[in-house]
Amino acid sequence: MSIFNSKKGVAVKLNKRNVVPIVILLVILVAFFVAYRSGFLFYKPYQPLLYANISGQILKFRDDLREADKILVIPNESTIRKELFNENVNNITIVFKPNTTKENAYYEVEVIEIVRILAQTYKIKITSQNVIPVDTYENLNATAQNPVIALISPAYANGTDVRLEDHAVFIEGKDFKSFDLATIKFLMSALEISL
């Protein structure tokens, strides 16, 4: 490979006196190059990945996509996407089990995130008519035509994951940050964002 603008040659006469400094210089240069390529040089602190490009539009998320990507999805991302976003679906309902005002605020944040991103990307319209408080997460009456997104706040969560059961997608987190990340993981699944 000929590197640009390196046309002019340089003549160097070698003898015992100048070989040693040249070798030392070469070793330093090689070490410098290796350090640079491996990232040890010019170390930069970790930057969260907050943006995703969805067919030309840049979406910003509340938290790090890399962290969210670690959240467990059961059975897998594509199954969840196909369950919610196919031509047979007439309506999507979001349910949540109310708790303290603090935990309700978590629900409120996640509802806004889900509604606005699904509206912007899939043109799915979820209004207040489709956001329903429930007493229990059992018997949600989810169907293939009317799947349900069930938000489970930290107080009721058994862990942090996104899982599909009987046409209902459960999003749960053991603390607010985990709940946030699980919601983002759900949206990554919906939007086919893979890192």
Partner: protein, 715 residues
């Protein structure tokens, strides 16, 4: 002294938001962004009740739905060579019928559409472009279009579609077309390098192609690309943009593709060349979320979610493409605003390759007509002498800027005379040949148990449009009549055009003066009624084209506030000029909204999460000072202020909610949406979602009532 200062500061904090509140709510959510880009956070309280969670969806969906950019049109014009124009009647249900455009348009009618060929192994294969005309009506639905007759795409009808039709079949291998030698075709003005065909699919190179010179940055979208190093076999491209690590660069060989770290954008090197003589390097890259894609029916056109592919590629015959196969691209608007085109507006396909224009109306000559109360009118006889008993009477004045009344007058009067429980109406025309005095024409017993006929006034505009103004008789005596006098302007007296009429529900005062509606000088819905649909339109702020002839009732509520009815009567039937293709020279321009994708900020934030930087954005603050610390702050209260103190600060009572804009000195707006209780906040969010504040000029309103029928009053 301290107490005095504290009182003064509290007063300032209380007054300040009111002083600054100025942005009208009717433009929600447009004021939360600019140029179609949303610049706002929804701030929810760190404490929330169930209704707050539910109502949050309404805020989010309303903001997400309003992703548009207002574009100023260069203007529209009559067609020259490159388009077809038709005059279409109001109420016409389908412009694709043979009466108008027919189902499709090709080069023979629109010259710039291609009818050409490409080479496949030495054989010429013909293809042509075709525009499929959509099922669309000319609608005067005032609830959607105000005083306009719009071209409206029909739900469920044939969509507007572009097609590239292969007139002859072929195999890609016969032309040696593949990944390194794509078949280059222009679809709707965009070049596609087609690599392969499948059953109802095709695979093509996509993305934005960028030519780079050494060390010259080129910005495309949010990203900037610079060729920093290279040879004939390698290029090093540095990339900067959202999410891209500082100092990032990609080393690529021709044909190689990488994902740009920190994004899902891909970069592919097409070619790179070292030019020794010029002492530089040049490279061509393709960038985008994908650089190669297989398209099938339903897939979005690149960078447009309103246009989707519709493919018919049949490989059953053994060829990759069979004769008459086509690549179609259909316009599928996802919001109602994308389905209609008002006068002087157009919808344009990607690359402006084909446009549908509403080129305005065929009629520009109108006669004005005003019906309004008039007091102290004296009626004269042919000898210009005041008629006894008809001096200083009250009634109506009917006036026009054209000689359209009766046998050619501009002004008529109907005055009332009461005898016992009977009321007689007298008609007179203002005669220019008799000192412009109202000259007696006829009298009619109009309110009486023995009243049998209406009083009528003919309206003729150059003998081509005949209307009748009717003062309806009432077979009760005056004392029990409650709604008289009802006055109607009938539509065209021609079958097919008198589909809708207008009724003004006037009322008498005790002195027989006339007012429109039960309350004088106040627009009420029942003041004016469209007969036919039975719509009460007295509070309609715009005018309405109310019949198929094209008759207009102007600025309804504004005129009703003055107890007037004002009409514009066309000299002949109004039609809408619709053009498909590309316009030539321009005339008047206009603005319209196109729906486009744009970049979102993260919308939802807890009040406790909002940073000082984010405070510099527009904020939608949901919840009152008892649940949301930011709400407390804008109201000049401490968090948590609940109960009576909170209601007093917001100026509301139980069962009410406040929606109020607080303009910030930075130019941004804080929109407070807060109820006395959580259920009231929900009522307010629902009102925003349902666009109940459209055109509201107040910067603060109080909402009460129900979600279905909210009561909105200025705060």
């Amino acid at each position: 002294m301290k107490k005095l200062i504290a009182t003064f500061l509290i007063a300032i904090m209380t007054i300040l938001p009111t002083v600054l509140a100025a942005t009208p709510l009717g433009t929600f959510p447009g004021f939360l962004g600019s140029a179609g880009t949303l610049d706002a956070y929804v701030v929810v309280g760190s404490d929330a009740l169930v209704e707050d969670v539910v109502g949050a969806a309404d805020i989010a969906i309303r903001l997400a739905e309003t992703s548009y950019t207002a574009q100023t049109l260069p203007g529209v014009s009559a067609c020259v060579d490159n388009c077809v124009e038709k005059e279409v009647s109001i109420g016409a249900t389908d412009i694709s019928s043979s009466t108008y455009f027919g189902p499709s348009l090709k080069q023979v009618r629109i010259a710039y559409l291609k009818d050409a060929s490409f080479d496949v192994g030495g054989e010429s294969k013909r293809y042509y472009e075709q525009i499929m005309v959509p099922t669309a009506s000319i609608s005067n639905d005032y609830t959607a279009y105000n005083e306009s007759a719009a071209l409206a795409l029909t739900d469920g009808g044939t969509p507007w579609e572009y097609r590239l039709v292969f007139a002859e079949g072929f195999n890609m291998t016969d032309g040696s077309y593949d990944n390194t030698n794509p078949l280059t075709l222009e679809l709707m003005g965009k070049t596609f390098g087609i690599i392969a065909f499948g059953d109802d699919t095709f695979t093509a190179q996509i993305g934005d192609q960028i030519d780079l010179d050494y060390n010259v940055p080129v910005t495309k979208g949010d990203f900037t690309y610079t060729l920093t190093l290279g040879s004939n076999t390698l290029a090093v491209i540095s990339v900067t943009g959202p999410g891209v690590p500082s100092g990032y660069s990609a080393s690529l060989t021709p044909g190689q593709e990488r994902t740009i770290t920190g994004t899902d954008m891909k970069i592919k090197l097409v070619s790179v060349n070292e030019f020794t003589v010029l002492n530089t390097i040049r490279a061509t890259i393709i960038v985008g979320s994908e650089t190669q894609k297989t398209f099938s029916t339903g897939d979005e056109w690149p960078d447009s979610d309103q246009w989707k592919f519709s493919l018919t590629i049949n490989q059953g015959s053994g060829d990759d493409v069979t004769a008459s196969d086509y690549i179609g691209v259909q316009y599928i608007p996802t919001v109602d605003e994308g389905k209609y085109i008002k006068p002087s507006q157009k919808l344009a396909s990607p690359n402006d390759y084909v446009e549908i224009l509403n080129d305005g109306y065929t009629v520009s000559k109108y006669a004005g007509l005003t019906i309004e109360p008039k007091s102290s009118v004296t009626i004269y006889d042919d000898a210009e002498k005041a008629i006894s008993g008809l001096s200083g009477k009250n009634g109506f004045k009917i006036s026009s800027d054209q000689k359209i009344l009766g046998l050619g007058y501009k002004t008529a009067y109907i005055v009332f005379n009461k005898t016992g429980s009977d009321v007689t109406a007298t008609l007179a025309y203002e005669d220019p040949s008799k000192s412009n005095k109202p000259i007696f024409v006829s009298s009619q017993l109009i309110i009486s148990t023995s009243a049998t006929d209406d009083m009528t006034v003919d309206v003729n505009f150059e003998d081509s449009s005949k209307y009748t103004i009717v003062l309806v008789h009432d077979e009760n005596d005056y004392n029990v009549s409650s709604t008289f006098p009802t006055i109607q302007l009938l539509g065209m007296n021609t079958a097919g055009f008198n589909d809708v009429n207008v009724t003004g529900n006037f009322h008498f005062t005790s002195s027989l003066t006339v007012k429109l509606g039960e309350t004088a000088s106040t627009a009420e819905a029942a003041d004016v009624v469209l007969v036919g649909p039975s719509d009460s339109i007295g509070e309609q702020e715009s005018g309405i084209i109310y019949d198929k002839w094209g008759t207009i009732i102007k600025d309804v509520s504004t005129n009703a506030d003055s107890d007037k009815l004002v009409f514009s009567i066309p000299v002949e039937q109004v039609k809408v000029k619709v053009a498909i293709g590309k316009p030539g020279a321009t005339s008047t321009g206009g603005t319209y909204n196109i729906i486009k994708k744009f970049n979102y900020r993260p919308l939802a934030k807890l009040a406790s999460e909002i940073t000082s930087t984010e405070r510099a954005s527009n904020l939608v603050i949901v919840g009152g000072p008892c649940v949301n610390s930011l709400a407390a702050e804008v109201l000049g209260l401490t968090y948590k202020t609940c109960g009576t103190a909170a209601l007093t600060a917001m100026g509301i009572t139980a069962g009410q909610a406040l929606i109020k804009n607080y303009d910030q000195t930075s130019g941004k707006v804080y929109l407070l949406v807060a109820g006395a209780e959580a259920a009231d906040t929900r009522l307010a969010t629902s009102a925003l979602q349902l666009d109940k504040l459209a055109a509201n000029t107040n910067s603060a309103v109080i909402i009460s009532g129900s979600i279905v029928s909210p009561v909105i009053t200025p705060a």
